[in-house]
C-alpha cells in the first residue's frame, strides 16, 4: 500500500494505516505503548527525556495503563523495573550515559538473575569530559554485562526493536534483559516516517504478559530470586547464562518469521548485509552511520569499486557466524566505531570483528576507524575516505591499524 511519506499537519491516521512522522524517542514510546507494560520507572536524562514525556502523555491521554514512577535516580529506575518483572509483570525503563553507569549494579543484577526487562539506551558519550553529545561509549561500558543488545539505524527500527526485545526477553529459552540502543540526537531527535502497527497485530506477535508462562514470584510455586551461590553452582549459572545468550542469537530468524506473519513486514536478522555478497571489501558499523555508509557504498560502486557493508544489529550476543560468512572472500574489512577502547586504542566493534576475522584463511587486513565522538558528524567525505583506505589495504597498501577520522 502506497502511503504518504508524512502526514499533513493535524491529520490523525488510525494506527497502522499510514506512516506518521515520529522522532526516535517517540517511535520508542509507541513501541512501548503497544507492548502493554505494567510499569514505567525512569529518571530524566538527556537525550532520553522526550521518550518518557511521550509515555507520560500517553498515560494522561488514557492510552497507556501502566503505572509510571519518576524515581529519584537511575539506579532506582531499573531496580523498580526488576521488582515488577520478577512478580510477573512487564516493565520498561530507559536511560543514557551517566544514568546507565549509575544503574550498573542493578544492570548486572538484572542479567545475572535472568530478569526479562527491556531498557532503551539513547546512546551518549560518557562523562568526563562532561558532555551530553551523541556517542556509543555508554553502550560499550555495559557490553559485557550479560544483556542482549540491539542497535538501531532508523526510527522504524526503534519501534520494531522494542516489540522484538520483549518477545526475545520473555521467551522461556532466553529469559534475559534486552537493551534497545539508538544514538542520541541522530536518532532520538530525528523525525522519520514510521509505521505504527495496530494493537491487534502486535498482540499476535507479543502475547500479553499475563498469557505467558514464565517463572514468577507467586504463592503457588514459591521461588527466590538473587540467591547467594558459590563455586560450581555459580559456574553453572554462568554456563546457562551463556547458553541463553547463544539461543537468543539463534532465535532472531524465527522471530523475524513471526514478525512478518503478524505485522506483514520483516524485522530482519542479526546483521544487515548491504551489497556485501559480491563486494571486494567490507565496511562494518552499527547505528545511524550505516545510512551514510550505504550512500558511500553506492557512490564507490558507480566508480567501479566493489564496496559492501555489514551493519551489526544485534551487538550482544555477537553474530560471529554471520560476520564471518560476510567477511569470507573479501580482501579487507574496515570497521567504523563511535567509541574507543582505552588501552587498545581501537574501536570496540573493531576488536570483536578482528577476533572473528582470525578464523579467516587467508588472513585479511582489518582497519579500525574511530569517529563521530561527542556528536561530531560522521560525514560522507570522512566515511568515503575510510572506505577508500580499506579498499587500498585490500590491494596491498600498508598503513596503521587504527585511524581517528578527522584527526589524522
Amino acid at each position: 500500500m502506497a502511503a504518504p511519506a508524512y502526514l499533513p499537519q493535524g491529520a490523525q491516521p488510525a494506527d497502522g494505516l499510514a506512516p506518521r512522522l515520529l522522532d526516535g524517542n517517540k517511535a520508542a514510546a509507541y513501541g512501548v505503548l503497544l507492548c502493554r507494560p505494567d510499569l514505567i520507572a525512569a529518571y530524566p536524562i538527556t537525550p532520553q527525556t522526550p521518550l518518557l514525556e511521550q509515555l507520560y502523555k500517553f498515560k494522561a491521554d488514557g492510552r497507556l495503563t501502566a503505572e509510571t514512577v519518576e524515581v529519584e535516580g537511575e539506579n532506582s529506575a531499573l531496580s523498580a523495573a526488576l521488582g515488577v518483572t520478577v512478580a510477573g509483570g512487564r516493565a520498561f525503563t530507559a536511560t543514557s550515559s551517566m544514568g546507565l553507569t549509575f544503574m550498573y549494579d542493578a544492570y548486572l543484577f538484572a542479567s545475572g538473575t535472568r530478569v526479562p526487562v527491556v531498557m532503551v539506551i539513547a546512546m551518549r558519550e560518557q562523562t568526563a569530559p562532561t558532555t551530553v553529545s551523541c556517542g556509543q561509549q555508554d553502550l560499550m561500558m555495559v557490553k559485557e554485562g550479560g544483556w542482549v543488545q540491539l542497535v538501531c539505524e532508523s526510527c522504524q527500527e526503534i519501534l520494531d526493536s522494542i516489540l522484538v526485545a520483549y518477545r526475545l526477553a520473555e521467551d522461556p529459552q532466553v529469559q534475559l534483559p534486552v537493551n534497545v540502543c539508538y544514538e542520541g540526537y541522530y536518532l532520538s531527535h530525528l523525525s522519520e516516517p514510521v509505521t505504527v502497527p495496530a494493537q491487534e497485530a502486535v498482540d499476535r506477535f507479543l502475547l500479553p504478559v499475563r498469557d505467558k508462562r514464565r517463572p514468577v514470584l507467586g504463592t503457588e510455586h514459591p521461588m527466590t530470586f538473587g540467591t547467594y551461590v558459590v563455586g560450581e553452582l555459580y559456574a553453572e549459572y554462568r554456563y546457562k547464562h551463556c547458553q541463553a545468550m547463544e539461543r537468543a542469537g539463534g532465535m532472531l530468524d524465527a522471530i523475524d518469521g513471526e514478525f512478518r506473519a503478524a505485522l506483514g513486514r520483516p524485522y530482519g536478522g542479526a546483521v544487515e548485509a548491504y551489497r556485501a555478497e559480491d563486494a571486494e571489501f567490507l565496511m562494518v558499523t552499527m547505528g545511524s552511520a550505516a545510512g551514510t555508509l550505504k550512500v558511500v557504498v553506492d557512490e564507490l560502486r558507480k566508480e567501479g569499486i566493489a564496496a559492501g557493508l555489514a551493519r551489526v544489529r544485534m551487538f550482544r550476543p555477537l553474530p560471529a557466524r554471520e560476520l564471518l560468512g560476510l567477511m569470507r572472500g573479501k580482501r579487507a574489512v574496515g570497521v567504523v566505531d563511535r567509541s574507543v577502547s582505552f588501552g587498545w586504542n581501537r574501536g570496540h566493534l573493531f576488536i570483536d570483528v578482528k577476533a572473528v576475522a582470525q578464523d579467516l584463511e587467508p588472513r585479511i587486513p582489518v582497519v579500525s576507524f574511530i569517529g563521530g565522538l561527542a556528536g561530531t558528524d560522521l560525514r560522507r567525505d570522512l566515511l568515503a575516505g575510510a572506505a577508500r583506505t580499506t579498499w587500498e589495504r585490500g590491494r596491498g597498501r600498508a598503513g596503521a591499524e587504527v585511524i581517528w577520522l578527522g584527526l589524522e
Binding site: 529518571y43 530524566p44 536524562i45 538527556t46 527525556t49 518518557l52 514525556e53 507520560y56 502523555k57 498515560k59 494522561a60 519518576e70 529519584e72 535516580g73 537511575e74 551517566m98 549509575f102 562523562t127 562532561t130
Partner: protein
Amino acid sequence: MAGTLTRKDFVSNQEVRWCPGCGDYAILAQVQKVLPEFGVAREKVVFISGIGCSSRFPYYMNTYGFHTIHGRAPAIATGLKVTRPDLEVWVVTGDGDGLSIGGNHLVHALRRNIGLKILLFNNRIYGLTKGQYSPTSEVGKVTKSTPMGSVDFPFNPIAVALGAHASFVCRAVDVEQKHLGEMLRRAHEHRGGAFIEIFQNCNIFNDGAFHELTDKPLKADYQLILEHGKPLIFGRNRDKGVRLNGHKPEIVTLANGASEKDLLVHDETDPALGFILANFAPPMPTPIGVFYVDSRPPFEAEMNRQLERAKEQRGVGDLRKLLYGGDTWTVS
C-alpha cells in the same frame, strides 16, 4: 593578598550561560560580592557542584572549581575537606541534584558535620532536562512528567537537613540580596557543615514559584524573618505574630488582645523550635533566616584529633613494620 580582594577577583572570564532572568544570576552576584569580604585567599576557596543548572556555578567563580557527577558533589567535597580542612569548600547543588539522585550523599555529609558550605538552589523543578517535577515540587504540580499532576509528596529541605542533624540550617531567597549575603556570611563563620536552602526562581519552567516571598506588595505578609532572640513578628504593618498553642503555632494579631510578650521568641539553638518552624505551611508565613545552629565539632577536626592522639600515644607509624609484623608467615 586576601585582605585586598574585590568582587572582580572572584568573577571568572566565562560567559554566564543561564536563561535570562534566572534566579541563579542573583545568587552568583551575591556570592561574588560577599566572598571578598570574608578575607579568604582565592586559592583557599573551592566550589564543587554536581549536575543541573545550578551546577554551572564553579565556571563563573574565579576560584578552584570542580563540576562533578550528578548528585555526588557532597561526597567529592567530603574527600577534599577532610584531607584539606584549611580550604573553604562550598558545594552548589539543586533540588534534583541534591535531593533526588544525590539525597544519600547530602544527608550523610550533613550528619557527619563535614565543614562544607552547601548551597541548595531550590526551584522546585528539573530545569536542565526542561521541566519535569522534582522532589520539592508540590503535590498536584503539572509538569511534562506529571501531566495529570504530581501525586508525589515533596521533601521539605530544611526539615531534611534538621532530620540529618545538620549543625547549621538556614533559608534565603535569591532576590533578597542583603539577607542572602548575611546568610552566606553566617555560613562562612559557622565552624562545621552549613546548609543553605535558597529559593530560586526558574523563570522558564516554574516561574513565580516563590512570588509571595518576592513580590513587593505581598512579601511582608508571607515572609517571616527569623532573628535570634527576637519575637516572631511579620506583616506589612508588623502587626502579626506567631505564638504557640501547645505544640501548635498560630497567628495572632497584635493589638487584638495579644502583645509581643505572648509571642514565640526565636532561639536558633533549639532543635524542636527549628522543626516547628521548618514545618510552617499556609496560612502560616514562610520563615527565612537561620533555623538552627549547633556548635558540635566538625568531622574533619575530630578525625584529625584522633590521628594526632594516636601519634602521641604510639608515635608516627612505620608502614613497613606494620606489613611485616604480627600475623604474617611464609608458605613453604
